[in-house]
């Protein structure tokens, strides 16, 4: 009798979990629906850099985005930007016919319990694999990890202010090679070469973007993305 009750309980739990589990298409559709409400935005931007062997101070500027994939950062000075723009992951998810999505598990990021969705492109291109940590409750992408042929792996961690569709902070983690040029070219006569035995010479660099004063759906002109820097 005890065995029957245990078995029935197990079956009920199993099927209820199956019902609760998200279908990746539904999950992505919810993300896309939320992102569809944003046609363009501009915001104030503060950028922090933690890139090994690059000493660069925090810089402020403005950021502009317009669908489908126009993105521009404007600063008064030199900045290092990741090759993928912050909206690249969402733009990628929007074209649901171009990939196959699979849920590979559940992970907790901060206070959010996220479904881990693997996205495999249907066509051979630069993108090899996309991995998205989606909070099913809010339909927000909390983390994405993109592996491309040209740029290696890049991880994007998003932090959202309450009830916001757009992130207040984005942390890019990129895989970079150690910077090294001949001493003669740098005329760096007094310096000594580091005794780094790490022959792989690859490490991680971090770029943090802090967004504030979002202005959404202002019908930004295309010229904003093309006019030269002053």
């Amino acid at each position: 009798m005890k065995q029957k009750i245990f078995f029935t309980g197990f079956l009920l739990l199993f099927f209820s979990m199956q019902l609760m589990a998200q279908n990746p298409k539904q999950l992505i559709a919810a993300v896309n629906k939320k992102f569809n409400s944003v046609q363009d935005y501009s915001a104030d931007l503060k950028m922090d850099f933690n890139i090994p062997s690059v000493n660069i101070q925090t810089i402020k500027g403005k950021v502009f985005f317009k669908k489908p994939n126009k993105f521009r950062v404007r600063t008064h000075g030199i900045v290092f930007l990741p090759k993928e723009n912050p909206a690249y992951a969402l733009t990628l998810l929007a074209d649901t016919n171009s990939y196959t999505a699979l849920i590979s598990g559940e992970e907790k990021i901060g206070n959010s319990v996220c479904e881990v969705v693997n996205v495999i492109p249907n066509k051979d291109g630069d993108m090899i694999l996309g991995k998205f940590w989606i909070d099913a409750k809010t339909a927000l992408v909390m983390r994405s990890q993109l592996t491309t042929k040209s740029n290696g792996t890049i991880q994007i961690d998003n932090t959202y202010a309450e009830n916001n569709t757009l992130p207040s902070k984005i942390l890019f983690t990129v895989d970079i090679a150690k910077f090294k040029i001949p001493k003669a070219l740098a005329v760096d006569i007094n310096s000594k070469s580091s005794n780094n035995k790490n022959y792989n010479n690859r490490t991680s660099g971090f770029i943090t973007l802090h967004f504030s004063n979002y202005k959404v759906n202002q019908k930004l002109q295309d010229a904003v993305f093309t006019e030269p820097e002053k």
Binding site: G77, I78, L81, E229
Partner: protein, 279 residues
Amino acid sequence: MLQLTLVELYKIITKPRSYIGFLAVTIVILLIQFALYLQGDSYINFVFQNLQQTFVMQGKILNGNQICFIILQTLILQMPLMVALVTGDLISGEAATGTIRLLATKPFSRIQILLSKYFAGTIYTICLVAWLGLLALGLSLLIFGNGDIIVIKSESLIILRSTDVLWRFMFAFLVAIISLVVVSSFSMMLSCFTDNSIGPIIISMAVIIVFTIIGTIEVPIFDYIKPFLFTTHMIIWRNLFDNPLDKMQIIESLSVLLLHIAVFLGISLYHFNNKDIQS
């Protein structure tokens, strides 16, 4: 003393070789500016190629400040040679022509005579650095505009904002003047010991070249020698573009350079004061 210094300056001005340095600085700077104006992007792409695999570098990289920095690091090794060309001749040149005896008969002490030559040589050095600054920074800013600097080191990069750069350049030029005064003091010291005008110039150039080569080669045995070479401390101007500044290192190097000036000048004064001038 002022009159004597002005006379010495007049002698420098009337010598054609005094203009070689100015001409060389002008040609090199104009060539670098012209080349970077036409093909600066290729240079930038070559230097930053491995970073550009991962990042998009945004901003005006080829700007006046950056060009000035590139010029300084290219020219700073050659500038001492141009200074030695003039200051190495100040005493020995007159000894070779016999005018030093005539000068010694005037109502000035030998110390005054030597110091006036030393001050004239220093003024010449300041003028050369000022000309370098005017062309390298002033003209570059005029052609390429203002902007941030990327300080390129062999294993790292430092990006300095344009608002944080001008004072560094001013101090760098000041350090360049002190460094070049070391060379002028050294060549003048050698000049006191010979009656041949070419000898001190050649020896000064040879010493600078040898010291620079020792500083460049990464052999452990040279690590013990390097701190004692004035050429090691002459390129301390580059440390002014570090962030944060290693103030102790800068002060230490400046102290070593000033000590060299004092020692070279002291030896010059002692020897010239006691020298048996026969020609």
